[in-house]
C-alpha cells in the first residue's frame, strides 16, 4: 500500500518529461541542414540545367555558399540578440523570448549577401582546386547569377527556418500548457479523493447500514454526488455558484456524520448570486483545509461558515467568498509536511489562470474570541450578473 507521502511525490512529478535543451538544439540543427542543404542542391541542379555541365563542382560551390550564408545569418542573429538582451538586462527588462525575429535577421541577411558568396567561393576554390575570379568584379553573368541566387537562397531559407522555429515554439508551449493542465487535474483528483477521507466515510457508512439504513442511504447519496462532482470537475470550465454550494454541502454533510456534534455548518448564499459562474470545486480545498487543519484537530470541534457576497465599487464588482472556521487556528510555524499547502496553492493557481491580478486569496487568523482561521477569496463578478439586485433577483 503506498504511503500518502509517496502519492505526493508522484503527483509532483511531471506527467511527461519536457524535451531537453539538447534535443531542442538537435532539432534546430537538423532543420537548418535540411532546408539549407535542400536549397543548395536545388540551386546546383538549376545551374547545371542552365549551363548544361559539371553538377558536382556546382553542388560544392552552392553548398559552400549556403553554409557560409547560414553561419553568417545565425551568428549575427545570435550576436544581435545577445546585445539586445544585455541592454534589456541593464534596464531591468526580461530577456527576449526568441532571438529577436526580423530586427536581428536583417543585419544578418545583409552581411550574408555581402560576404557569404565570396567566402563560399573561396572555400569552394580551396576544395575543388579551381580558380574563380573575384566576385566583386561585377559584370560576368555567372557572378550576377551567383549573387542573385545567394540573395534569394538566404531569404528563402531564413523565411522557411524562422517559420518552422515559430511553429516548434508554439507547439512546445501548447504541449507545456497541456501537461500543466493534466497535472493540475491529477492533483485536484488526488486531493479530493484523499484516502483518509474516503475510507473513514466508508467505515461510517458500514456502521450506519446496520444502525439506521435510511440515514445510510442518504449518506451514500451524498457520497455519490460528491464523487461524481469530483470526477466531473476537471471536465467543466465553470458551474453556477449554487451548484458549488450544493457540492460543499454534500462534503460537509459527510463530515457531519463523521464528526457528529463536533461539527456545525452555516452556508450563506444570497439568491442573486446563485447563477454566478465559478470554476468547479474552487472552494472545496478551502473547506477541506478548514476541516482538516482547523476543526478536526480541535478537541471541541467548532463551526464552519461559508459566505458569498457581492461587493460593488464604482469601477467594478467583486464576488467575495469567505470560509471561516472556529478551529485550532494557524500554526505558529509553517508545517513542513509535504503537500500541506497544496490546497491553497492550487486555488491561487486556478484564480491566477482565470483572472490574473484581479483575483486574490488571503488567509488570516481571526481574533474575535472564537479564534480559528478566515480565508477570503475575491474575484471579478461577471458584468452580466453584477447589475443592481432589483433586476437580477427576479427569476
Amino acid at each position: 500500500m503506498p504511503t500518502p507521502d509517496s502519492c505526493e511525490i508522484a503527483a509532483n512529478a511531471p506527467l511527461a518529461p519536457a524535451p531537453a535543451a539538447s534535443a531542442r538544439l538537435r532539432a534546430k540543427v537538423w532543420r537548418h541542414v535540411w532546408v539549407v542543404g535542400g536549397l543548395c542542391v536545388g540551386i546546383a541542379i538549376f545551374l547545371t540545367v542552365l549551363e548544361g555541365k559539371g553538377f558536382i563542382p556546382k553542388l560544392v560551390y552552392s553548398l559552400c555558399i549556403g553554409i557560409a550564408c547560414t553561419l553568417i545569418v545565425d551568428s549575427t542573429r545570435q550576436a544581435v540578440a545577445w546585445g539586445i538582451n544585455r541592454l534589456r538586462a541593464r534596464q531591468g527588462q526580461p530577456p527576449l523570448a526568441n532571438r529577436g525575429g526580423w530586427s536581428s535577421a536583417i543585419p544578418g541577411g545583409v552581411l550574408a549577401v555581402l560576404m557569404g558568396p565570396s567566402l563560399g567561393m573561396t572555400l569552394g576554390d580551396w576544395l575543388t582546386g579551381n580558380q574563380t575570379p573575384s566576385l566583386y568584379q561585377l559584370g560576368s553573368t555567372s557572378t550576377r547569377i551567383t549573387l542573385a541566387l545567394s540573395v534569394l537562397g538566404t531569404v528563402i531559407s531564413f523565411v522557411v527556418i524562422s517559420t518552422q522555429e515559430r511553429l516548434a515554439t508554439t507547439r512546445a508551449l501548447a504541449e507545456q500548457a497541456q501537461r500543466h493542465a493534466a497535472e493540475t487535474q491529477l492533483r485536484l483528483l488526488q486531493s479530493q479523493l484523499e484516502p483518509h477521507m474516503l475510507f473513514n466515510t466508508l467505515a461510517n457508512l458500514r456502521v450506519l447500514i446496520g444502525l439506521e439504513p435510511e440515514r445510510a442511504q442518504a449518506m451514500l447519496d451524498r457520497l455519490i454526488s460528491f464523487l461524481r462532482a469530483t470526477l466531473n470537475a476537471s471536465r467543466l470550465m465553470a458551474h453556477p455558484l449554487a451548484t458549488e454550494f450544493d457540492r460543499i454541502s454534500d462534503y460537509l454533510a459527510l463530515m457531519a456524520v463523521r464528526m457528529g456534534p463536533r461539527l456545525q455548518v452555516t452556508l450563506d448564499l444570497p439568491a442573486d448570486l446563485r447563477d454566478v459562474p465559478v470554476p468547479p470545486l474552487l472552494l472545496q480545498p478551502l473547506v477541506e483545509n478548514a476541516i482538516k487543519h482547523g476543526l478536526e484537530p480541535h478537541v471541541e470541534g467548532g463551526r464552519i461558515t461559508v459566505i458569498a457576497r457581492a461587493e460593488s465599487r464604482a469601477e467594478s464588482n467583486t464576488l467575495v467568498l469567505t470560509v471561516r472556521d472556529t478551529g485550532s487556528g494557524m500554526p505558529a510555524a509553517p508545517s513542513l509536511a509535504p503537500g500541506s499547502h497544496f490546497g491553497l496553492a492550487q486555488v491561487r493557481e486556478r484564480l491566477a489562470t482565470l483572472h490574473g491580478q484581479a483575483a486574490s486569496l488571503t488567509l488570516e487568523p481571526v481574533a474575535d474570541g472564537q479564534g480559528g482561521t478566515l480565508v477570503t477569496l475575491r474575484m471579478p463578478l461577471p458584468a452580466l450578473l453584477s447589475k443592481p439586485q432589483s433586476k437580477s433577483a427576479t427569476p
Binding site: 500500500m1 503506498p2 504511503t3 500518502p4 507521502d5 484516502p195 483518509h196 475510507f199 473513514n200 466508508l202 467505515a203 461510517n204 457508512l205 458500514r206 456502521v207 450506519l208 446496520g210 444502525l211 456524520v257 463523521r258 464528526m259 457528529g260 456534534p261 463536533r262 478536526e296 484537530p297 480541535h298 478537541v299 470541534g301 500554526p331 505558529a332 510555524a333 508545517s335 513542513l336 509536511a337 509535504p338
Partner: protein
C-alpha cells in the same frame, strides 16, 4: 485470565466508536468496554485512571494522535500493573503499522471487517490467557511493547529527514527577539503549545510545539528523553537508572535533574 477483561475505545468519530463497540460485543461478549473517549488526551488520561486490559486507539484524533497517547501511557504507566494490550485503528496506512502485525501491538484498518476483527480478538484473548498463566512475563511484554512503540514513533518522525536544521532559536519577548544558538541550549521542555528553551544561564519561551520543533533539530545532538523533553546530549553529565526503569539525568550548568522515560531509557547504556 481475568474473567471479564476491560477495554477502552479512543475514537473521535462517534459512529465508528459505536460500531466497534457493537462488533466487539458480538465477537467477545465477556469484554467490558469501560470507556469510549473522543480525543487523544482523554485516551491516555482515562486509560491511566481505569487501567483496562485492552486499548483500541484511533491514530488520527484531535488533541494528540493515538501513537502519542500510547507514548504518554507507556511513560506514566504505574509499576507492577500489566500494561494494556494496544490495538491501533487507522483509516489509511499512515504509519508502518503492518510491520507489527500479530505482535504486542496490533492494528486494524478502517472500515474494520468482521474476519479481521475476529482474528484480532483471538490474538488478544490468547495473549491475555498467556499473561494469566505466566504473570512473571508481564515485564517482558511491556519491554516488547516499548520496543514496538519506539519503532512506530521513530517511523512517524523520520518522515522528513531533509528538513532544514535550526542554527539559532529566536525567542520573542514583547518587541525584543533573543537569539540563542542551539549549541547553548541545555534542554527543551514542552509547555502546552509552547516550548521552554533552557540554557545554562537562563530560559526562554518560543511559540511552537515540541512536535513542530523536533524535526528541525539534529537528532545526533538533541535526544528526546521523554514525550515533553529534548536534551542536548553534550549537556548530560551522568545518567542513573532507577528501580522503575526510568533514568535520572544530571546536567552541566543546571542544578535540576531530568527524567528519561522508560521509552527512552535504552539511550543511556554503558559502552
Amino acid at each position: 485470565m481475568t474473567p471479564h477483561p476491560r477495554a477502552l475505545i479512543a475514537e473521535d468519530e462517534p459512529l465508528l466508536a459505536a460500531g466497534l463497540r457493537a462488533d466487539l460485543a458480538a465477537l467477545w461478549p465477556e469484554l467490558q468496554v469501560v470507556a469510549t473517549v473522543g480525543d487523544g488526551l482523554q485516551a491516555s488520561a482515562q486509560a491511566l485512571a481505569l487501567q483496562p486490559e485492552v486499548c483500541f486507539f484511533d491514530i488520527r484524533m484531535p488533541g494528540c494522535t493515538g501513537l502519542e497517547a500510547a507514548q504518554a501511557l507507556a511513560e506514566d504507566w504505574p509499576e507492577g500493573v500489566a500494561f494494556p494490550l494496544l490495538v491501533f485503528v487507522t483509516a489509511y496506512d499512515d504509519y508502518a503499522l503492518q510491520a507489527f502485525e500479530a505482535q504486542a501491538v496490533d492494528y486494524l484498518v478502517k472500515p474494520v471487517d468482521r474476519p479481521r476483527l475476529t482474528g484480532c480478538v483471538a490474538r488478544l484473548q490468547a495473549r491475555l490467557a498467556a499473561r494469566a498463566a505466566v504473570p512473571a512475563a508481564t515485564s517482558d511484554a511491556l519491554e516488547q511493547t516499548l520496543q514496538q512503540l519506539r519503532g512506530l514513533l521513530g517511523a512517524g518522525q523520520g518522515a522528513n529527514p531533509t528538513a532544514p536544521r535550526l542554527a539559532v532559536i529566536q525567542a520573542q519577548v514583547g518587541n525584543l527577539v533573543h537569539l540563542v544558538p542551539v549549541e547553548d541550549v541545555v534542554y527543551f521542555e514542552a509547555a502546552d503549545k509552547y516550548v521552554r528553551v533552557i540554557t545554562a544561564a537562563r530560559e526562554h519561551l518560543i511559540r511552537m510545539s515540541l512536535r513542530e520543533l523536533l524535526p528541525q533539530l539534529d537528532a545526533q545532538q538533541f535526544w528526546q528523553v521523554h514525550r515533553g523533553t529534548v536534551v542536548q546530549a553534550r549537556a548530560v553529565t551522568s545518567a542513573r537508572r532507577e528501580e522503575s526503569g526510568k533514568v535520572t539525568l544530571q546536567l552541566r550548568g543546571r542544578a535540576e535533574t531530568l527524567t528519561a522515560s522508560r521509552l527512552y531509557a535504552h539511550l543511556f547504556k554503558g559502552m
